[in-house]
């Protein structure tokens, strides 16, 4: 086979040429992957650093609400809807730690298509907030632009009903960054939708970690004999 190739290569210069190009392309691709990963890691660290204090403040409010029986609703569009679902799973089915009630508002195709078809796409999340929520609950919306109309409408509805409202945005934060309907808005300062989503995932994980730690401490305090720190039912309470 190789002998045949050697004898006929001159007839097909394209074959030999493309082979070398594939090798150099692979080298370029690997370098590109590692370069982008480095950018992503730096953005993740910068985001955690920028939002550290606010993440702790938001986490404390969330832990308090979960302790009082609150539930978490997450939402987003496209890839962000899947990241919202991953975040909801992290809260309700964590690989370790306490589970708390949480679900993604994009998970049910019947509800999504019913609302989208009957009342309009911009209302797919806000209508569910109306249907499901109580004032003790929490709404977390993820958008890379910060301008998604369906999220903005959901935050407005959630805020009106007393929910804790938390946004994850990108670029300059868009409308979410300045909206009075958001209690917290964690903006990832990048122009790349991919890098924004990768940082939103880690910042969301950090928020979960903080809630877990505060919940653990709250329960530990209670078990050590200060029952008034635990007032709800969902964190293993006594009431």
């Amino acid at each position: 086979m190789s002998e045949l190739n050697q004898n006929t290569d001159f007839l097909y210069p394209f074959i030999e040429g493309s082979e070398h190009d594939a090798d150099s392309l692979l080298v370029d691709l690997a370098a590109s992957a590692r370069g982008k990963a480095e950018v992503s890691a730096r953005l993740q660290q910068a985001s955690l650093d920028e939002w550290r204090d606010q993440l702790h403040a938001a986490g404390a409010e969330m832990a308090d609400r979960f302790a009082r029986g609150g539930r978490l609703y997450t939402f987003g569009n496209g890839g962000s809807s899947t990241d919202a679902a991953t975040l909801a799973s992290l809260f309700c089915r964590p690989a370790r730690g306490r589970a708390v009630p949480a679900w993604s508002l994009a998970a049910d195709q019947a509800v999504m298509t019913a609302l989208g078809n009957d009342v309009g796409f911009e209302l797919i999340f806000s209508r569910q907030v109306i249907a499901h929520s109580r004032p003790v609950d929490i709404a977390i919306g993820l958008s890379t632009s910060g301008n998604s109309e369906d999220l903005i409408r959901a935050f407005t509805e959630a805020k009106k009903r007393g929910l804790l409202t938390i946004g994850f945005a990108g670029h300059d934060g868009g409308a979410m960054a300045t909206s009075p309907d958001l209690d917290y808005c964690f903006t990832i300062r990048s122009q790349s939708i991919h890098r924004i989503q990768e940082s939103q995932a880690l910042v969301g994980f950090e928020l979960w970690s903080i809630v877990q730690e505060l919940t653990r401490r709250r329960v530990a305090d209670t078990l050590a004999g200060s029952p008034d720190t635990l007032s709800g039912s969902n964190a293993g309470g006594t009431s």
Binding site: N5, Q44, G79, L90
Partner: protein, 252 residues
Amino acid sequence: MTSTGERVELIGEDLGDDLASASLALARRFHAGATLWVVSPQWEPHAHHVAVEFVHPVVMGKRALPSVALVEADPVAQARVATRPGDVILAVASADDPQVREVMRRAPAWGADTIWIGFGPRPQAGSADHVLWVPSDDPMVPATGRFVLLYHLLWELTHVCFEHPGLLTEKAEDCADEDCADEVCVTCSDEGRLGEVVLPPESAFTSALVRTATGEEAVDVTLVGEVAANDLLLVHAGTAITRLDDLPGASR
């Protein structure tokens, strides 16, 4: 909680190389008309994220590519009926996921290439055509964005490959490979191919209908005895020579 100053290298040298070759292979398959099927029984949202990434690119001007998340209760059955020769199956799953292991084991009989993204202990060598593995045992890895980074990069690099149309045809390279002619029987020029039983023989005198990478064909199963639908066979020159489900550790 994540500590400050701790620099994690998200993509090491090996993983970067694996991503590069997986991307070129995937681009070539798409170029030839493949659909990308995605399974993630443990982390369904990741399957949806991969599919939406390819179908509706976030970067303006990049072409939409066929990709579908298979998230029904039985992804093996779903992938079996969905997959056509030349397609690609991507799994986001740990190495011990029983359903994904079945999908990966059967994919060669369906004619599909496989990409396996995960973390923790690696799958056995050869379990998938491309293994993109996060070198960490932390059970929280699936929720930290590291898988998201991996399939984002897979998408980005795949589209880079489309800018090199001269490299999107596999044949030129495969036949330049010196091992090209290996593993073929010198007598009948056929090789041992993985097949999955579609229909068992109706009687001892008829053949079974078996699916292999090249399509469905009649196969004499006399040597391996009774077979049932979905049994995996090694097919050589129109005859089943081994039943893979008989091998230790295998499950149907």
